[in-house]
């Protein structure tokens, strides 16, 4: 099975701006794997200072399969994951 890494920055700025909620929404995608026909395992990693100190402007910062999403929202991250998996 293929694997997609989703790294969620959990610095103070990012947590305040919804990083924990984004991480939970990504985990919740696993429950929809049949509906979404996932053939990829999505792994959520909480990472410290992923933003390298730039989170004030970019938070919350999430990196989906190497692609950064600044000012991420749950819906944007979930859509990105689904699109990446669909592209294989």
């Amino acid at each position: 099975m293929k694997r997609l890494d989703v790294n969620v920055c959990v610095c103070t700025q990012c947590v305040m701006n919804g990083a924990l909620e984004i991480a939970e929404s990504v985990k919740s995608l696993q429950k929809l794997k049949n509906q979404l026909r996932f053939d990829t395992s999505v792994r959520v990693n909480a990472t410290e200072k992923l933003c390298d100190g730039t989170c004030k402007d970019a938070s919350p910062l999430v990196v989906v399969g190497g692609e950064p999403i600044e000012k991420a929202t749950s819906d944007a991250v979930m859509a990105k994951i689904i699109s990446k998996i669909a592209k294989g």
Binding site: V10, C11, V15, N17, T73
Partner: protein, 494 residues
């Protein structure tokens, strides 16, 4: 909505951070500008006008500074009376929880409505089950006569298409004590004779129309002053600030913020468990028919109101963990100030109750603390040394989770009376607590130890939390397991 980062949560946290920023910088004259920093541009995002959006934020800023709401009918800048807030003393006056009237959506009170999902079916059981003939079939669809409707919900339960929906005000649905009423314009209005300040209405309102007062400003000014402030952190703190914020890192972050020391409120909980165990053994059933735990102030106030004067003695007289811990701190040094950092709004009221001296000077929630840390740009990177002698027991740490208080008391009873059987009943959420109290009042819980928690899940479900309650409960239990002690007796032996 809990566990979802909505614009309501975003605005609330932004306000905490902005208020903290002006407190740290001392640029108090910027307060009138803050709504423009939070609601940017000229176009409204969620309401009919950007001016209204900013006006609502302005009221929330005043509450966050500990000030009263302004009347929409008088001219006053946000900074009206702001000088009163610039102090290290408590400024806020009751009421703690406030509805911002012009922010309220005036949602309709509870009613049942037929949706477009109605198929006009041949069976139409909705009309058959209605005891007052409020459901009729008009042009092939069900129609509910709201004048006749008893709001019993039978029609909704029986509809095979789930076409009948219950519409509720979110604030009223979240309120377990029926304190949400309406003003003359149909806007939510809190009946403060009933309200126990649990704060569930403020997290349930999808229009950000309800907020509580805060001490962010006064606490930061105290931290900046030469006053020594000690933080006492309630047991639900584990996991609140993200997966990397271990207890040692939370302690380090609080020290970096300027607190002189950090203590676990669970240590006070250990004392409370012993005290309530003794109270139970001494007084139940000879003097009291049952004993109700006392650590949740919303539950405690509510229980006394339901039980009436005679049975209100059944609510334990023991101090709450917050007060027990603060007293310990002030016994060591009466000149320090104590800040309780916890999950809920009602502790703010408890701290300033006049009947029991609390010894707590400031109360802030985890969410408010997050705003303060973000304003100061403090991350959870450093680890502070944890003193094992100051560690709380596993049962004390589990106070944060529903069932934890009763389990801790039983653990202490079993230590001195191993053969004693203790009957327990517990409830979470004030509506459920009411059912349990009615049974107790009717004599059906005689001999019991009963535990009530105002918030679903216990303290982990409090209105001032960040982490989703279920996840938080699991993390609290894990942290509890790391304690070398089961209860205070173990600690004393070691």
């Amino acid at each position: 909505m809990r566990g979802i980062y909505t614009p309501v949560v975003q605005i609330r946290r932004q306000i905490f951070k902005k208020v903290a920023q002006i407190a740290f910088s001392g640029e108090f004259d910027r307060v009138d500008q803050l709504p423009y920093e939070i609601i940017k541009g000229e176009v409204a995002s969620y309401r009919e006008s950007v001016f209204k959006e900013r006006a609502i934020v302005a009221e929330r800023i005043r509450l966050a500074c500990g000030l009263n709401l302004r009347s929409a009918g008088e001219h006053a800048p946000i900074s009206k009376d702001f000088g009163k807030a610039i102090t290290t003393e408590r400024v806020f006056e009751l009421p703690l929880v406030n509805v911002i009237p012009f922010a309220c959506n005036s949602c309709e009170t509870t009613c049942y409505e037929v949706s477009d999902n109605c198929q006009g079916c041949l069976a139409h059981p909705c009309s058959s089950v209605c005891p007052v003939k409020a459901v009729s079939i008009v042009n092939g669809k069900s129609v509910i006569d709201k004048e006749k409707c008893l709001k019993c919900g039978r029609c909704a339960d029986t509809c095979p298409y789930h076409a009948i929906i219950k519409r509720e005000r979110p604030c009223a649905a979240a309120c377990g004590v029926g304190a949400i009423e309406s003003d003359e314009l149909g806007r939510a209005k809190i009946n403060y004779d009933k309200c126990v300040s649990c704060g569930q209405c403020l997290v349930a309102c999808p229009f950000a129309a309800i907020a509580d007062k805060s001490q962010i400003l006064q606490l930061i000014l105290a931290l900046k002053s030469d006053k020594k402030v000690i933080a006492e952190v309630a047991p639900a703190f584990v996991g609140q600030f993200g997966p990397l914020a271990t207890p040692a890192k939370v302690k380090a972050a609080l020290l970096a913020l300027g607190f002189a020391d950090v203590r676990e409120v669970a240590v006070g909980a250990d004392d409370v468990s012993v005290s309530e165990a003794e109270e139970f053994l001494e007084r139940v059933p000879e003097e009291l028919p049952f004993l109700a735990t006392s650590c949740c102030p919303s539950w405690s106030v509510f229980a006394k109101s339901i039980l009436g004067e005679e049975l209100s003695k059944c609510v334990s007289m023991s101090l709450t963990p917050m007060v027990a811990t603060a007293r310990k701190i002030k016994e060591e040094d009466p000149n320090v100030r104590v800040c309780f950092i916890g999950p809920c709004a009602s502790k703010k009221l408890e701290a300033f109750r006049r009947t029991v001296r609390s010894d707590v000077d400031y109360v802030i929630t985890y969410e408010e603390l997050m705003g303060i840390l973000a304003a100061k740009d403090i991350d959870f990177t450093e680890e502070a040394e944890m003193n094992p002698d100051e560690a709380a027991s596993s049962t004390g740490r589990n106070y944060a989770v529903s069932g934890g208080v009763a389990a801790a008391v039983v653990s202490c009873i079993k230590r001195t009376h191993p053969d004693k059987t203790v009957l327990i009943d517990r409830a979470e959420g004030l509506a459920n607590c009411k059912k349990m109290l009615m049974l107790a009042k009717a004599g059906k819980r005689n001999g019991y130890l009963i535990e009530g928690m105002a918030c679903t899940g216990g303290c982990v479900g409090g209105a001032g939390t960040i982490q989703a309650p279920v996840k938080s409960a699991a993390l609290v239990k894990k942290f509890a397991e790391e304690s070398p002690y089961e209860n205070r007796f173990d600690k004393e032996q070691k």
